[in-house]
Amino acid sequence: MVRVVLPQHLRTLARVSGEVTLDVTGLVTIDSMLDALETRYPMLRGTIRDHMRRRRRPFIRFFACEQDLSHEPPDTPLPEAVMTGAEPLLIVGAMAGG
C-alpha cells in the first residue's frame, strides 16, 4: 500500500479528502503510482500527465522524503519509505502565480 497526497483542486475533482492509498503492483515508480491513481480515479487523467506524451505537466511537481523528484525519469524506483507506505508521494501544484 502506497500513499499519495493530491493538491486541493485534484482532491476536489476526484472527490476525495485527505490522502489516497493505492495498491501498486511491481516496481513502485512515479509512472506506476500514477497509473494506479488514474485507474482508480479516471477523472484525473490528463491533469497530472498530459494525454499525448504522458509526461508531467509543467506546473506539477513530485516531492517525497524531502526530495524534489520532479526531474527524475518517471521509471525511477521511488524511495524505500514511499514503497513501504511510511512516507507519501506529494503531488504539488507549483507556486507559479495566479
Binding site: T39, G46, H51, A94
Partner: protein
C-alpha cells in the same frame, strides 16, 4: 412567468445568475469550480438543464464538466460511479482528452501550422474556448479549442473526435495571435443541419456545408491592411466574433480585430458596417432575439488599449443592420471606466422585451431588460468575466 439563467465563466470559477421574467432581482450562485478558469458554459437548447462547461487551468489542464440539473450538480462526463468501467472492464474518463486526428485519411498531412517566427509547429492542445451544444440532440456538442480545431462529442461530452477537415483549409498558414490560436466561435444553423460556421483568432472564419467534413475560408471582403499586406488573403484575418439571427442564417455579423462587418450570403462576401462607431475595434457582437436587424457591439479604444474610448462604457446598437449606431449609456459608467468585454461575454435572452447582458474584465455583469435602453449591474465584483450565456427557461 419565464425566468432567465445566466451562465458566467470567470478567471476563477463559474457563477450562475437567475431571475424571474422581470429581470430586476437576481440571485448569484457560485463560485463553481473555484480557482479554475471557466472559459465557457452553455446549455443545450433542447434540454436547458443539461449544461456543458469548460474548466481549465495552467496547472492541471482541461476538464469538461456537465450538469444535468441546471447547474446544481456537476460531473466530468463518463466518471459517475456507474460509468467508471466500460464494457471491457477498462476505466473510462476521457472527457478531457482532445487528441488531434493524425490518421492518414484525415489529419496527418496537415499537422503543423505557422509559428510567429515563420517555422511550422505541430498542433498542440491547450484548452477549450467554446462549447456549442447541438440544436437537436442534448448528447451532441461541439468544442472549439486552442490550438485551433473543432471537436465533436456525440455521447454527452464523454469522448471527443476532431473534425480534422478544418485544418485542411490552409491550416499550414494559420498562426497564433497574441491571445493564442483559438477557435472561439461556433454557429449552428437550425435550417441547414449540415452547415457550421467557425471563427478563429488570427486565422479567419470558415464554413462547412457537410457537417464538418470539409471547410472553406469565407473571408472575401475582409481587409486587414495592418496585419496582412495581401488584400486577397483568404486566411490570417483576426476575426473576434461572428453571430447571426436564427431566422436569417445567411446574414452574418462580424466583429473583427478592427472593423465591424456584415455578410448577406452566408459568408461568401462581407461589407464593412462600422459607420459612426467611435472605434470599430472590439470583441463581442450580438443580435436582438426578435429583431434580426438589431445588432450590438461594445467599442474598445484600440488593439493595445483594451478599454472603452474616453473611459465611457457604451454599448452601441444599430437597428438597421449596421452603419448607423446609437450609444446606449443609461446605467453604465460614463467616466473612469477601463474594463474590457471579451468575445464570449455578451448574450441575449429570448423574452419580450429582449434582455441583453455582458460581463467585464473588472468582474461586473450588466443587464438590460429592455433591449439595451436601460442597464443595471447584476453583480459587481466577480473575477474577470470570460463568458456570459443566457438561458430563457
Amino acid at each position: 412567468m419565464n425566468s432567465v439563467r445566466l451562465l458566467v465563466g470567470t478567471r476563477k470559477g463559474a457563477f450562475i445568475l437567475t431571475s424571474d421574467g422581470k429581470r430586476k432581482q437576481w440571485t448569484v450562485d457560485g463560485p463553481h469550480f473555484g480557482g479554475w478558469e471557466l472559459y465557457h458554459l452553455k446549455g443545450s437548447p433542447v434540454d436547458p438543464d443539461r449544461i456543458y462547461a469548460s474548466q481549465t487551468s495552467s496547472w492541471f489542464g482541461q476538464v469538461i464538466q456537465r450538469s444535468d440539473d441546471g447547474g446544481k450538480t456537476w460531473n466530468p462526463p463518463g466518471t459517475k460511479p456507474e460509468d467508471l468501467m466500460g464494457a471491457d472492464g477498462m476505466p473510462k474518463g476521457e472527457s478531457n482528452m482532445f487528441l488531434y486526428d493524425v490518421s492518414e485519411k484525415t489529419g496527418k498531412p496537415l499537422t503543423t501550422h505557422q509559428h510567429y517566427d515563420g517555422s511550422q509547429r505541430p498542433w498542440e492542445f491547450k484548452r477549450v474556448w467554446h462549447l456549442e451544444p447541438s440544436l437537436t440532440d442534448p448528447d451532441t456538442v461541439y468544442a472549439g479549442v486552442e490550438d485551433a480545431a473543432i471537436f465533436k462529442s456525440i455521447d454527452g461530452g464523454t469522448t471527443w473526435t476532431e473534425l480534422a477537415g478544418l485544418r485542411s483549409a490552409k491550416g499550414q498558414l494559420w498562426q497564433p495571435g497574441a491571445g493564442g490560436m483559438c477557435l472561439h466561435t461556433i454557429l449552428l444553423d437550425e435550417n441547414s443541419p449540415d452547415r457550421i460556421f467557425v471563427a478563429i483568432s488570427a486565422a479567419g472564419t470558415f464554413r462547412s456545408d457537410d457537417a464538418g467534413q470539409t471547410w472553406k475560408p469565407i473571408t472575401k471582403g475582409l481587409l486587414s491592411q495592418y496585419g496582412l499586406p495581401d488584400p486577397d488573403a483568404e486566411v490570417g484575418h483576426c476575426v473576434h466574433c461572428i453571430t447571426m439571427h436564427p431566422s436569417r442564417p445567411n446574414v452574418l455579423f462580424m466583429q473583427k480585430h478592427w472593423d465591424v462587418l456584415r455578410s448577406d450570403n452566408g459568408g461568401e462576401s462581407w461589407q464593412e458596417i462600422s459607420g459612426n462607431l467611435p472605434s470599430d475595434f472590439g470583441f463581442p457582437i450580438a443580435v436582438h432575439a426578435h429583431e434580426p436587424n438589431t445588432v450590438y457591439v461594445v467599442p474598445i479604444k484600440s488593439d493595445s488599449e483594451h478599454y472603452p474610448p474616453e473611459g465611457k462604457l457604451r454599448v452601441y446598437r444599430s437597428k438597421v443592420g449596421g452603419n448607423e449606431w446609437e450609444a446606449l449609456t443609461k446605467g453604465l459608467p460614463q467616466q473612469d471606466c477601463y474594463v474590457n468585454i471579451l468575445r464570449d461575454a455578451m448574450a441575449v435572452d429570448q423574452l419580450d422585451p429582449c434582455g441583453i447582458y455582458f460581463g467585464t474584465t473588472g468582474g461586473q455583469v450588466y443587464g438590460s431588460a429592455d433591449g439595451g435602453d436601460n442597464w443595471a449591474p447584476i453583480v459587481r465584483d466577480l473575477p474577470a468575466v470570460l463568458s456570459v450565456e443566457a438561458q430563457t427557461l
